[in-house]
């Protein structure tokens, strides 16, 4: 599941923010901020994308780099949110 999820996220980032198919450019642990590949609009796009794709709702106070700033962080965050939704 996690591997598939990361693949989906990476594919989205590559296509919509990096505009490339060169997989070597982005490692799962790479910070989007450090790479300069994201701006405020980019963050909003990613949030819309994960909300729609993974059926979660991102709250304002969850808009933090710890949750959103790499493929790894996104996958971990989405899994936490999905687990919370199941528990609730």
């Amino acid at each position: 599941m996690n591997v598939t999820m990361k693949k989906i996220i990476r594919h989205y980032i590559m296509e919509n923010l990096l505009f490339t198919e060169d997989e070597s450019i982005l490692q799962d642990s790479d910070s989007f901020l450090d790479g300069g590949i994201i701006d405020s609009t980019g963050v909003m796009e990613i949030i819309l994308f994960i909300e729609e794709t993974f059926g979660i709702k991102v709250n304002d106070d969850e808009m933090l780099p710890a949750n959103l700033d790499s493929v790894d962080n996104l996958a971990a965050f989405i899994q936490r949110k999905q687990a919370q939704a199941v528990a609730a």
Binding site: I25, S31, L33, D34, G35, G36, I38, D39, S40, T41, G42, V43, D60, D61, M63, L64, P65, L68
Partner: protein, 523 residues
């Protein structure tokens, strides 16, 4: 030896480091650096640059994010006798290559994260040396590790030969069309405007300045230069991408000064409407880069209850022209105030004659803070640096139209080339924008004129609503009908999810015209 009076921009760092060596100069993420550390880094970099062949007057490009090394490198370049050229970290390879080539940069200082941008640019410039900050050993061919280059360099002052008339910086102005221009500033012009700014804002060594503006942008750069000038601390963020994190840092660090632009205020006000914001430690609040909508002021007061609000106006060619006495923020909410200390503003007509109080004229700036011109562009320079009041003196023609009241405070009317002429009437886009901003559901608006067979030009409004708010074309036309002469009411209103921005985050009429006019539903 330390000069008694600062003549070179770097003298301000040397004086502050001598006086407050252990004072925190910079807070960036979790890193805190003292003035001693900044100075030692700058010394080592200066020696490394000299060893790389940098001579007095050579340009050194700094292509980095808002990091402490970026901030310290400015002084390293100056101590080497060089001219710093800061380049926005969001710049793409082609534009980077253009700036490196246009400025004849001898050395590029960058960071590994940006290798995918600078590598293609540097390939086109075989004589350029690239020094790169890197966490790992592996760097692309031809790129040297900056940390390694600094390791064995001494932390001593290299011999200085520059004088105050020498260039200190080329500041490339964000190119909304065509290629950017390098604005040439000397040590003298930058030191002068720095002293003027720190004087009217009243910064002291106890202040903790906050900025998320890029350092390549004059307004952002001067947050750092001001902190160094007075020995204050600069809390530097990379951006406002993660606002919650920024807000937390502002309170954790108890910042006393906040440098903002209308877009940041708009975002904060939208946030505040959902969840209250409060920054009681801020005593100095500044707005520049674009006119602050009057409707924002009351909300800003709630968010920053202890702050004096300084509305400021300027342009890269002189950094800063005007500021409004904060006591007048509500009394003259549409004014940008008067000339900054030690300078003069003139309002002249087409024949360079002074216009009467209340009349519209072109703004000319007079003072020691003017640029020396645009790098390698004498024709463009001659268009804006025009003969001044004394022989050999130049004034800066701002291209902006203003009015002045009886007290000598100035009111922005429009860019001279942005006045819309519709039905033969002059329409100020700003006036129409202000009307539309009075709708609380409006996030941002830009008004521009487009060619129209009947009207000459038709007034167009490009509007973005606040997130989650309902906003209709009818509402916008209605408020304009209520507030404006009918020739000013936009013929076309286009609702957009957001408005396009320049690389410095500014709204730009030109950019919006380029990108959005085709979206208009023209008959």
């Amino acid at each position: 030896m330390m000069p008694v009076i600062p003549r070179l921009l770097q003298d301000t760092l040397l004086a502050t480091a001598a006086r407050y060596p252990d004072h925190t100069a910079l807070v960036v993420d979790d890193v805190r650096v003292s003035y001693r550390e900044v100075t030692d880094y700058a010394y080592r970099l200066a020696h490394a640059l000299r060893a790389s062949g940098v001579c007095r007057g050579d340009r050194v490009a700094i292509f980095m994010d808002n990091t402490w090394q970026c901030a310290a490198s400015i002084y390293g370049v100056l101590l080497a006798g060089g001219v710093f050229v800061l380049i926005n970290a969001q710049t793409k390879p082609d534009k980077l290559a253009f700036i490196l080539s246009d400025s004849d940069a001898r050395v590029l200082l960058s960071e590994q994260n940006l290798a995918r941008v600078f590598c293609p640019a540097a390939e086109q410039l075989p004589t350029l040396r690239v020094l790169c900050l890197s966490k790992s050993k592996a760097l692309p061919d031809g790129v040297e590790n900056l940390d390694n280059a600094l390791t064995h360099m001494p932390t001593t002052l290299p011999p200085q030969s520059a004088i105050t008339m020498d260039l200190a910086a080329l500041i490339y102005t964000s190119g909304t069309t065509g290629f950017p221009k390098g604005v040439m500033h000397t040590h003298q012009s930058l030191l002068f405007v720095l002293n003027s700014i720190t004087e009217y804002l009243g910064f002291s060594q106890h202040d903790r300045l906050f900025s998320a503006l890029p350092l390549n942008f004059g307004y952002g750069l001067f947050q750092w230069l001001s902190a160094v000038r007075v020995g204050a601390t600069l809390v530097l963020e990379r951006s406002f991408i993660y606002p919650m994190q920024v807000f937390k840092r502002m309170n954790d660090e108890a910042v006393t000064s906040f440098a903002s632009v209308p877009t940041i205020f708009a975002m904060m006000l939208a946030h505040d409407a959902k969840q209250q914001l409060n920054f009681p430690s801020v005593r100095i609040l500044t707005n520049a880069a674009a006119m602050l909508p009057v409707e924002f002021i009351a909300g800003i007061r709630r968010i920053f209850p202890q702050a004096s609000l300084y509305k400021m106006y300027g342009q890269t060619e002189c950094i800063r022209s005007a500021y409004l006495n904060p006591a007048l923020a509500e009394i003259k909410p549409h004014s940008v105030g008067c000339a900054i200390p030690g300078t003069e503003l003139l309002l002249l007509d087409e024949n360079r004659q002074a216009v009467a109080t209340g009349e519209v004229g072109t703004l000319y700036v007079r003072g020691p803070h003017l640029m020396r011109g645009y790098w390698k562009q004498p024709e463009k320079t001659a268009e804006v640096l025009v003969p001044g009041l004394l022989p050999g003196e130049f004034m800066l023609k701002s291209g902006d139209l203003f009015r002045r009241d009886a007290d000598g405070d100035f009111y922005f009317v429009a860019r001279s080339d942005e006045i819309i002429k519709s039905r033969g009437e002059k329409v100020s886009p700003t006036e129409v924008e202000n009307a539309i901003y009075s709708l609380s559901s409006v996030q941002e608006v830009v008004v521009a004129g487009i060619p129209d067979p009947l009207l000459g030009e038709a007034v167009c409004a490009f509007v973005a609503a606040r997130e989650g708010e309902n906003l209709s074309v009818q509402q916008i036309k209605h408020i304009c009908n209520e507030r404006l002469e009918n020739y000013m009411v936009p013929k076309h209103v286009l609702l957009l999810p957001e408005l396009p921005r320049t690389i410095n985050g500014k709204l730009s009429r030109k950019l919006i015209m380029e990108q959005c006019v085709t979206l208009l539903p023209l008959e």
